[in-house]
Symmetry: C2
């Protein structure tokens, strides 16, 4: 019930949002029977790409004007249930806000500043099969909040040198969070993204990661696939935009692997 | 003299670091005669990719242990001149530190928190032809410091939907900084990166940007080129790694365009 998963990597542009959106749709579909619980996606990145990647253009300005987003829920001016929106038959969204940029400084002196997200999500998480949290490209207070609230972390990793370099800093942060703030935090796994089989570097990076972290690497690898970068402009996941594409196949395979690993149904 | 340029875009993975490194080497080479001033690169991103992309592996641990980076210079425990390192014949580096992650919260209550970088760079900037500042993927305090210190901003923009979406938030932030903190801040231009001529989306995004911001778009476009992603693992710019590559050509063309636009020599 209610497995809370943070999708995190401080390296920018590695596929966090793309993984949050497509995994959410794939997991919700895999859980297909009506008795199953719906799924919740939380957009904790002030850029709001998960929010815009799953919402039609026309509704985005309404969300912006609503004053009921994850920001207001975290600072406490709105009850979290008032900020939830049903965006698909079996998917709810807790949308982002540009105001999250200021949260880091605003919460700097506050009590429990790392636990704010946990305090608003714990009471509602059992209404969902999974709660996926998309995080910003940083190891600051917002990502910290996601790791404190989460049961586990999924790490998307682009097959590039800088992404590999940043991995040890990220795993170090996860270990520190586990020691000090959230002893039960696990790593579900590292998922290789934008893998280009024609490119020697992709193979080199994949080999390096599987040598250093053999038990952490998901078997499913997400290939570089243009349909994945086209789908957000339609407010759709790639699974809805082009169900037969290589990107859709790969995220369905990843969803199956995660459901198996976590024993969730 | 001493034109200070921030390389900024809160969207992650758009090519900020790749532009900082390769533009630095291209500008330093274009300025070739011995009488010209050297160039300074400031790595203001806690990830430290500009630092590692220009420095041999063996020297990186020495920088980490030195306690003399841009972090110590900003918080005032070290004089900035002590943190500068000559990394090429005509290029100096003010290296990053992982401690920058904490700067946002540490400086939250301090005086002049947005002007710390400006205060340390103003006294030294005229020793250089250009000072290029690589920034993290965020609109927080570190990027704000870069925009307050800078004469102008260069915006790398990946030819992807989410990168286009984030452009108006970035230009809005630059306008706010100009109004409140740095009235002389200009935008040198937007440079399209990772352009793939076989991909319809690249052409669509390029058309959109040139329609919305006709006078801001650099003519030089950086193509997707695997040599650009291979070079950092050798601690080299692409210009040094493979001078005849499409990536090296494109950054030399961009350097020529910038030297012309800014009238700098
Ligand atoms: N497998 C893929 N194939 C092709 N394009 C992809 C793939 N995965 C992601 N993309 C594209 O690459 C860009 C970066 O991906 P995305 O925005 O999901 O990364 P992110 O880690 O969430 O970025 P940020 O750090 O800014 O939050 C996006 O434009 C996305 O559409
Ligand atoms: N034109 C290009 N062609 C191919 N690969 C590129 C190109 N430009 C950058 N890259 C690669 O894409 C990745 C992202 O680029 P880079 O790290 O420079 O972006 P960034 O904006 O600095 O990221 P961050 O937001 O994490 O600071 C890197 O692995 C880099 O090597
Ligand atoms: Mg994202
Ligand atoms: Mg960078």
């Amino acid at each position: 019930m209610g497995r809370l998963v943070a999708i995190a990597n401080q390296k920018g542009g590695v596929g966090k949002t793309t993984t949050a959106i497509n995994l959410a749709v794939a997991l919700a579909q895999a859980n297909g029977d009506a008795a199953g619980l719906p799924l919740l996606v939380v957009d904790l990145d002030p850029q709001g790409n998960t929010t815009s990647g799953l919402t039609p253009q026309a509704e985005l300005s309404e969300i912006k004007a609503s004053g009921a987003t994850v920001y207001e829920a975290i600072v406490g001016t709105v009850e979290v249930t008032q900020a939830l929106r049903r965006i698909r038959d079996r998917i709810f969204l807790l949308p982002s806000s540009a105001n999250l940029v200021g949260a880091e400084v605003e919460l700097a002196g506050a009590d429990h500043r790392e636990r704010r997200l946990k305090e608003i999500l714990d009471p509602i998480k059992d209404h969902y099969s999974f709660v996926l949290i998309d995080t910003p490209p940083s190891l600051g207070l917002l990502t910290l909040n996601a790791m404190v609230a989460a049961d586990s972390v999924i790490v998307p990793m682009q097959c590039e040198y800088y992404a590999l370099e940043g991995l040890s800093a990220l795993l170090g942060t996860i270990a520190r969070v586990r020691r000090v703030l959230n002893p039960d935090l696990e790593i579900d796994g590292i998922v290789l993204t934008m893998f280009d089989s024609r490119n020697r570097l992709s193979h080199e990076i994949a080999r390096d990661v599987s040598r250093h972290f053999p038990d952490k690497l998901f078997q499913s690898v997400i290939p570089r696939n243009v349909r994945l970068s086209e789908s957000p402009s339609h407010g759709l996941s790639v699974i809805e935009y082009d169900a037969k594409s290589a990107g859709a196949e790969a995220y369905r395979a990843l969803a199956a692997e995660i459901a198996l690993r976590t024993g969730a149904t």
